[in-house]
């Protein structure tokens, strides 16, 4: 459940803070109450959306003998990506670095996001042959091919329909 669902009126990205709005003091007070409420539970206050965090998109495809995961990671290089395979899942972590902070960069638009990311793909235990996993990074797209173990390959059995 998204915390933001509980505070639907909270709109940190809204630029037009109508201070003159007669409800604004009440909204602010409600925000404050909720902040304190959740802080008591040790939860972070809801961060502004899109706050620069990089969250790459993932696709997973399956064939009879392999599972393939692809992620769009434009601007990264192989050194920035780390892939680990454990019994029950595949984890990809990495960091999209910002370009060197040259002095005097004056931004007109900033839509791209940066930072550390982590994605985990749960896999059925022991379904994948760890020695044969291959990862390929090309043009900003990471493609991980995981051949299935012999035992996990689909053994589709045709079931004959008999007339009684």
């Amino acid at each position: 459940m998204n915390i933001s669902d509980l505070v639907p009126w909270r709109d940190r990205t809204s630029l037009n803070r109508r201070e003159n709005d007669s409800l604004y003091p009440m909204r602010r007070e409600m925000d404050r109450i909720f902040d304190e409420f959740f802080r008591g539970f040790g939860m972070d206050t809801w961060r502004g959306e899109d706050g620069g965090r990089f969250n790459p998109s993932l696709n997973v495809a399956e064939s009879d003998n392999a599972i393939e995961a692809t992620l769009e990671l434009p601007g990264l290089s192989e050194d920035d990506i780390e892939i680990t395979l454990v019994r029950d899942g595949l984890t990809i972590t990495g960091e999209k670095k910002d370009e060197e902070e040259e002095r005097g960069k004056n931004y007109y638009r900033r839509e791209r996001s940066y930072g550390y990311f982590q994605r985990t793909i749960p896999l059925p235990p022991d379904s994948v042959d760890a020695d044969k996993v291959e990862a390929n990074f090309d043009k900003g797209v990471l493609r991980i091919t995981m051949p299935k173990r012999e035992s996990a390959q689909s053994e589709a059995k045709r079931i004959a329909v008999k007339s009684s």
Binding site: N59, E62, G104
Partner: protein, 133 residues
């Protein structure tokens, strides 16, 4: 807490005209900043290399587009999808500040970087201050 997924935005067709390719078209996310001498545009276009990228400048309109080679999906069926593959396109209005003859472009790992040098007369000039005495 769910972070905001990077959702690709689909481009609208130009005035209803259809594209010749049947790929979806997305609007690439860009950063635009200026340094002392240049305006730099950086666009995320994963899947595009230098053969697929196209940059045209017509009058004041700069169009960047990137075509991808659709990946071979032989034998695979999509089990989980957060993104679709597609081409990219975006247009910008260029101001007169830019020196059109010296625009440079590079693409690496799916990121296009366009350097648009400012025209000479537009660069900030330091004006020496002399005392009037």
């Amino acid at each position: 807490m769910t972070e905001n997924q990077i959702m690709k935005q689909e481009a609208r067709d130009h005035d209803g005209a259809e594209r010749m390719r049947t790929q979806r078209v997305y609007i690439p996310r860009v950063d635009i900043y200026e340094t002392g001498d240049d305006v730099v545009l950086v666009a995320d276009m994963p899947g595009v290399d230098e053969d697929g990228v196209d940059i045209t400048l017509e009058k004041n309109v700069l169009t960047i587009s990137g075509n991808i080679l659709p990946a071979d999906r032989e034998g695979y069926s999509l089990a989980y999808s957060e993104y679709r593959e597609g081409d990219y396109e975006r247009t910008f209005a260029l101001s007169n500040e830019v020196d059109r003859n010296r625009i440079e472009a590079t693409i690496q790992d799916g990121v296009l970087m366009l350097t648009l040098p400012k025209a000479e007369e537009m660069k900030a000039r330091k004006i020496a201050v002399r005392s009037a005495a």
